[in-house]
């Protein structure tokens, strides 16, 4: 089955081309059926591959030559695919979430004039994401990496007539592109050092010390390469300080947020770091950077999420924060814990987004202030959201608990108490903000004006399935199943793992419950006024509410200077460079208009001048030849 793994992305691609051929006016049912069917086939194939991998282990990559551009080794690009335990898991996650999101979209996007186009884009995304996962080398990964970025751009800007959506699409692309440029540079450096883009070749080169270029030593190169690769990962996974695009990307339709900006694409950064873990392992500096950036992102995202008023933005910051956890895990070499968290997070975050989408679909607003009391009116949505929230908060026995605890335990085991503390605080914030959303949305009095109704089965079925995963996915890696997932993944050399002991479990459970409790006091029971809290802590509140002023900072430090520079260059271009050219032209013209007065039109004058010229010529040549003759 593994030999046919290329079919997994190929089928969504075929479906995409089919929809493209059918055009924009295709019937909604047809488009949705094609989409769901294609992803369902991919899911089935992925599961078969997963089982094969679980039984037989890894396989050599299947490669063929893409481009040969010179003689000798190192001048060939290869393309192909490979399947190992990590990407077999990713295939399942991606195709599973994709299938559900495509099903959900049938209801969510119903009635949109560009329904067919939406499915086209989604299928293109699924193809790219699956392709990214089975890429055997950095170059091919980069190709799909950019393609998923493109799909994200198209889908965020799907409602292009909204200026915010248009701006968000551009921002998401440009900010991730910033990371991608670093990634490309890193890939090229590694390629120059090893003559190959292949993960395994590069890993082998690192182990055998074959990693060097004439201008930098092996250690420096490993650090530089790892940091550049991490730059790309940070852009895609919205890590501090490149996290600013992800909340804006919420301008896209909610299924897009669930699929791309929660479960799959944003996790690609984590996947990339995990896949090239050998590289990071060779550089302690790079690992530290990854760990601390992850820690900062986790706390930063959670802190901003505390105060946002838009339901999707809260979940978006939550995603940023959770991705920070994963990076932090990788940074302390807790490889399988991070991947485990990626796995569980994909389900419960997709669930939260889809449930939020269901709510938005019903109340037609994203403002938390205009929701409330939806528990009774939308019971399925509310209860599945609750599952997601519990999983996110890390309440046992939900999925998030097992994976997050493993990361936190690993930070302690790695001797990084600071990171552990950051993670704990972030966990507290997480529990608080997600239950703040829960209480504001589903309890109390309804504050909107449109009568909400529970969504249809196409939307609730995915919610229920995801809720089950949010509950049970964590058991795959829990102590009582003997860390099955971790064993399946296997440990790359250098990774250090620590199972969460009862102490960590107890603390984190307590912290989560504390957060939930505080949220309940503030927004459920209304025992304490959130306004009073925000007033007494106003500097922190303002910081959090204004997202720590990152957008303003970037605007002032990067965007405006760049534009000013552009204006200045443009001025130099038009006035000075072109000015010199025009000056030359004007000078020529001026001289010419002076000289042309000599042209009197009097033939006799011309003749006279000619005569004088002849005489002068004779005189000159004579004086020159005088010496020659004598």
């Amino acid at each position: 089955m593994i030999a046919y793994a290329w079919l997994v992305p190929a089928i969504p691609l075929v479906a995409y081309l089919l929809l493209l051929a059918l055009g924009r006016r295709v019937h909604e049912g047809v488009a949705a059926a094609i989409g769901v069917l294609a992803t369902l086939i991919s899911l089935v194939l992925s599961l078969m591959i997963f089982v094969d991998v679980a039984q037989g282990g890894g396989q050599l990559p299947y490669l063929w030559t893409w481009l040969t551009f010179g003689p000798g080794p190192g001048h060939t690009w290869q393309a192909g695919f490979e399947v190992n335990s990590l990407n077999a898991l990713m295939l399942v996650v991606v195709s599973f979430v994709s299938t559900l999101v495509l099903l959900f979209s049938r209801g969510y996007m119903h009635g949109d004039p560009r329904f067919g186009v939406f499915y086209q884009y989604l299928l293109l995304f699924v193809f790219s994401m699956l392709g990214l996962v089975i890429s055997p080398n950095f170059l091919q990964l980069y190709v799909f990496w950019e393609l998923v970025g493109l799909c994200s751009y198209l889908l965020v800007g799907f409602w292009y007539e909204k200026p915010e959506a248009a701006a968000a699409a551009k921002k998401s692309f440009v900010v991730t592109r910033l990371g991608d440029v670093g990634l490309l540079a890193g890939i090229i450096l590694l390629y120059l050092a090893t003559g190959s883009f292949d993960y395994d070749d590069i890993a082998r080169a690192i182990q055998t010390g074959g990693l060097q270029i004439h201008w930098i030593g092996p250690q420096g190169l490993a650090t530089l390469g790892a940091l550049l690769v991490f730059l790309g990962a940070a852009g895609k996974s919205a890590q501090f300080p490149l996290h600013v695009w992800l909340p804006d990307a919420m301008e896209g339709p909610t299924p897009v947020s669930a699929l791309i900006h929660a479960a799959t694409m944003v996790a690609a950064g984590v996947y990339l770091v995990a896949r090239s873990f050998a590289l990071f392992d060779a550089s302690p500096v790079a690992l530290d950077v990854v760990a601390y950036i992850g820690g900062i992102t986790a706390i930063l995202g959670a802190a901003i999420g505390l105060t946002q008023r838009d339901i999707k933005r809260v979940i978006a910051y939550s995603t940023i924060s959770q991705l920070g956890y994963m990076m932090m895990g990788l940074g302390v070499a807790a490889y399988s814990a991070a991947v485990f968290h990626l796995f569980t997070h994909a389900f419960f975050k997709a669930l939260l987004f889809l449930a939020a989408g269901s709510v938005i679909h019903a109340v037609d607003t994203q403002d938390l202030g205009r929701m409330g009391g939806l528990w009774r009116r939308m019971p399925v949505t509310a209860s599945t959201f609750l599952f997601g929230a519990l999983a996110l908060s890390g309440v046992p026995p939900f999925a998030g608990f097992w994976s997050k605890d493993e990361i936190l335990a690993s930070t302690l085991a790695a001797g990084r108490p600071l990171l552990f503390a950051l993670g704990m605080v972030a966990a507290f914030f997480t529990a608080f903000y997600i239950f703040r959303v829960f209480f504001l949305t589903f309890t109390g009095r309804y504050r909107g004006d449109r009568v909400p109704r529970e969504s249809g089965w196409v939307m609730t079925l995915p919610l229920v399935l995801l809720a089950l995963m949010a509950l049970g996915a964590g058991w795959a890696g829990a102590p009582f199943t003997g860390y099955a997932l971790e064993r399946f993944l296997g440990e790359p050399s250098g990774a250090s793992e620590a199972g969460a002991g009862p102490g960590v479990m107890a603390i984190s459970t307590a912290v989560s419950l504390l957060g939930i409790g505080l949220a309940w006091l503030m927004y459920g029971e209304r025992a304490t006024s959130p306004e009073a809290w925000s007033r007494s802590l106003w500097p922190l509140y303002r910081l959090s509410f204004h997202k720590f002023y990152f957008d303003e900072l970037y605007q002032a430090v990067i965007v405006r200077p760049a534009f000013a520079l552009g204006k200045a260059f443009d001025w130099v271009d038009r006035r000075i460079i072109d000015g010199i050219v025009r000056l030359a032209a004007e000078a020529t013209l001026a001289v010419a208009s002076g000289v042309r007065r000599i042209q009197t039109g009097q033939v006799q004058t011309y003749g006279l001048i000619t005569l004088l010229g002849i005489v002068a010529l004779i005189a000159v040549s004579w004086s020159l030849l005088w010496g020659v003759r004598s």
Partner: protein
């Protein structure tokens, strides 16, 4: 003796003459002749592309006759000029580019309504000249065609252009004319130097290259060779419209009609790239090696300079001009590395930038025709009334910023692979240009096709199948190059590897 290459040049020429003979303002006959001529020559190029024996390499389908001999006019040795045509791995991709862009530009010329017989006549002569540049195997002939290009370009801009068309045409002519001086001096100087040592003065590309790599290799490092190289480099900078000799390009683009812009930005600018690969890198590798840092610095300067200026352009055509300049900066940076990867990348960038520029100009031309303006300030929300044109324009913009799946990406990866191995620090600056491209192109797209649709633009007609066909063809071509880079890479591989090898020996 193959006459196929000769026909590639002659057929557009003949089509041009037929078009000239048609009655003034008659539309169908000149257009039909031009379409047929460009199609047949494109098919011929395609056939040669497929028939080119990659294993054998070298110049094939050659047609060569001695043309004339200058006794001792220039030097103390006779100079034989051949009337030679032929194709090799280096010229084939550019010929194919000319074929695709030429045909699509002719197709896209439907909007030209006045003096059509002259228009198509000039267009076809321009095409013949471009084919000639890439297919000549003699520097004299190459120069002849290079000059031939100027005449039709001058009239195409000067008659069918915008409000300041005559000024733009004159500027174009003066700049390119000045560069011709540098080129002709460099050509003859090089031939003379080689002849002095090698014993026989020739302008035949293959023979001259052989001389300069063989017995006359010392000519490469003669003191005057440095001056010749710098002169040639300056001329190439003008041809490619690179900073600081670039101001003619935005001006010409802003005035020329859309189909002419397709050829100007798509192919005419690329003749400089061809000259760099063919003459500078091919014949004076030692000089390229000596001035590599200078060339690379110019390349990086262009990437950043043009990229930043493109930020603040609101006229699409000026924006695209700076995009082209930025691409040519990547070309120069990559070519300066003289590694197989860098040279391949340079060629990929030249070809795919040509295709993408043509694609974007076709789209912009269509938008201009419908909306009456190509200034972003007057546009917005075009996705709604013109979804197909907007989509294709977006595809072009994305390709141009280096999205994988299109040729530009392959070019950029190869280019930077080459340049990082030689100029790591410079390349780090250069690669930032990729980011700039994303910013200005997406910003332009945002202002043009996204956002709310103004009432005046609500009822614009989308492009008909006939109108978007050129864009679709160009998109297919550039995706083809991006997905199957071997089509260019394997054809040009041997020729470029020989160039890269030249720097060592």
């Amino acid at each position: 003796m193959h006459v196929a290459t000769l026909w590639v040049v002659l057929i557009p020429f003949a089509a041009g003459l037929i078009s000239w003979l048609a009655p003034r303002d008659s539309r169908s006959l000149p257009r039909a002749a031009a379409l047929l001529g460009s199609l047949v020559s494109a098919v011929l190029v395609g056939a040669m592309y497929l028939g080119y024996d990659r294993a054998a390499g070298g110049s094939q389908f050659a047609f060569s006759r001695p043309w004339f001999t200058v006794g001792d006019a220039l030097a103390d040795m006779p100079l034989t000029v051949t009337f030679g045509f032929g194709v090799d791995g280096l010229s084939l991709p550019l010929l194919a580019l000319t074929a695709v862009v030429g045909f699509t530009a002719v197709w896209a010329s439907k909007g030209i309504r006045n003096r059509t017989n002259e228009y198509y006549g000039w267009l076809m002569i321009l095409l013949a000249g471009l084919y000639g540049v890439f297919a000549s195997t003699d520097l004299f002939l190459l120069f002849f065609f290079l000059e031939l290009i100027l005449i039709p370009m001058y009239f195409l801009i000067g008659i069918w252009g915008g409000a300041e068309r005559t000024k733009a045409a004159a500027k174009f002519l003066i700049y390119r004319g000045l560069s011709s001086i540098g080129i002709v001096v460099a050509f003859f100087g090089l031939a003379y130097l080689a002849g002095k040592i090698g014993g026989d003065m020739t302008l035949d590309v293959a023979a001259l290259t052989r001389q300069l790599h063989g017995g006359a290799a010392a000519a490469q490092s003669a003191p005057v060779a440095g001056a010749l190289f710098l002169l040639l480099l300056a001329a190439i900078l003008v041809e490619e419209a690179l900073v600081p000799f670039h101001t003619w390009l935005p001006f010409a683009h802003a005035q020329a009609p859309a189909p002419v812009n397709m050829i100007l930005g798509g192919v005419v600018v690329k003749t400089g790239a061809y000259l760099f690969l063919r003459v500078a890198a091919g014949m004076m590798p030692a000089m390229v090696g000596r001035y590599a840092v200078l060339v690379a610095v110019i390349g990086v300067l262009n990437i950043l300079w043009a990229g930043l200026i493109a930020f603040v352009q609101s006229d699409w055509r000026r924006l695209l001009a700076y995009t082209t300049i930025s691409h040519m900066g990547i070309f120069l940076l990559a070519a300066a590395s003289m590694t197989p990867a860098g040279l391949q990348g340079a060629l990929f960038v030249a070809v795919s930038s040509g295709l993408l520029t043509a694609l974007l100009f076709a789209g912009v031309g269509l938008i201009g025709e419908r909306a009456g303006t190509v200034d972003m300030a007057g546009l917005g929300g075009l996705s709604k009334p013109m979804p197909y044109v907007s989509g294709l324009l977006l595809a072009g913009a994305l390709g141009s910023l280096g999205l994988p799946g299109m040729g530009q990406f392959v070019g950029e990866v190869l280019s930077f692979s080459g340049s990082f191995s030689v100029f790591p620090r410079l390349s780090a600056f250069g690669i930032a240009g990729i980011l700039l491209a994303a910013v200005y192109l997406l910003r332009a797209m945002q202002r043009t096709t996204f956002g709310p649709t103004p009432a005046t633009k609500e009822h614009l007609r989308d492009g008909t199948v006939g109108e978007v066909l050129p864009m679709v063809l160009l998109l297919i071509a550039v995706i083809g190059v991006g997905v199957f880079p071997a089509v260019i890479g394997h054809t040009a591989g041997a020729a470029l590897a020989a160039l890269a090898a030249g720097i060592g020996g």
